[in-house]
Symmetry: C2
């Protein structure tokens, strides 16, 4: 694993530890200030712009919409040159796993989040022979 | 709109026209050859690597898993410097809309796809007051 990949996975871990703690301040520091951000929570319409994303997190953390627990498993780093990168992972929440992507750019010498999307996985409906990976791989 | 944003939306449109035509050759040309690619189809586990993604598209196109029609609506371009960029949009398919993100990098002088994620939208379950955008905005 390269230094960039290690750093990327650390930034990704920061998202999940902040989410688990419902730590809005940590989210404010993690999400990019300069790049155009967006977010698609599970089952939601897309949110576009930092204000919309931060308001959604504030409401989720304060309004009881956050899962009781959330952990990130089987995260793979995808470094796209010196500036941008993304992580594909599973989010383990009560009731099952979600499939998620987190996109980052380098800002102020570290990775900052520009996009998060998390999707329900319909495991029983998964076509046989098409499944390429699982959360325990 | 900048030239990069226009070019980005054109590349995004190429994805949906190729998907609508079930054109695997166009997909081969659109997806990055050099960058680490991934894909999360609606309800699916993450697919990692070009071979897994191309096999999934081949199976979807050939196996009847593709929607009868698909169009991209309300696409917004997010250019992240000279190399990477993403588009957030809705995918209009029979039965409703999906929320999608497509990430691109510049390769060979044009945008090529490195990641696609599409999620079902649970509109009836959307918490009131949290919705920030809709497909007709």
């Amino acid at each position: 694993m390269t230094d960039s990949e290690r750093e990327l996975l650390e930034a990704n871990g920061t998202f999940y530890s902040a989410f688990a703690r419902r730590d809005l301040q940590a989210m404010e520091e993690l999400w990019s200030q300069d790049a155009p951000v967006a977010c698609i929570h599970p089952g939601w319409e897309p949110l576009r712009g930092r204000d919309a994303v931060m308001t959604s997190l504030e409401n989720i953390f304060g309004g009881g919409g956050a899962p009781a627990t959330i952990t990130c498993v089987n995260a793979t780093p995808h470094v796209l040159g010196p500036y941008a990168a993304f992580v594909v992972c599973y989010e383990r929440v009560p009731g099952g796993d979600l499939a998620a992507t987190n996109f980052f750019v380098r800002e102020g010498g570290r990775y900052r989040l520009v996009h998060h999307q998390s999707s329900p996985i319909a495991r029983p409906a998964q076509p046989q022979g098409l499944k390429k990976s699982g959360p325990m791989n």
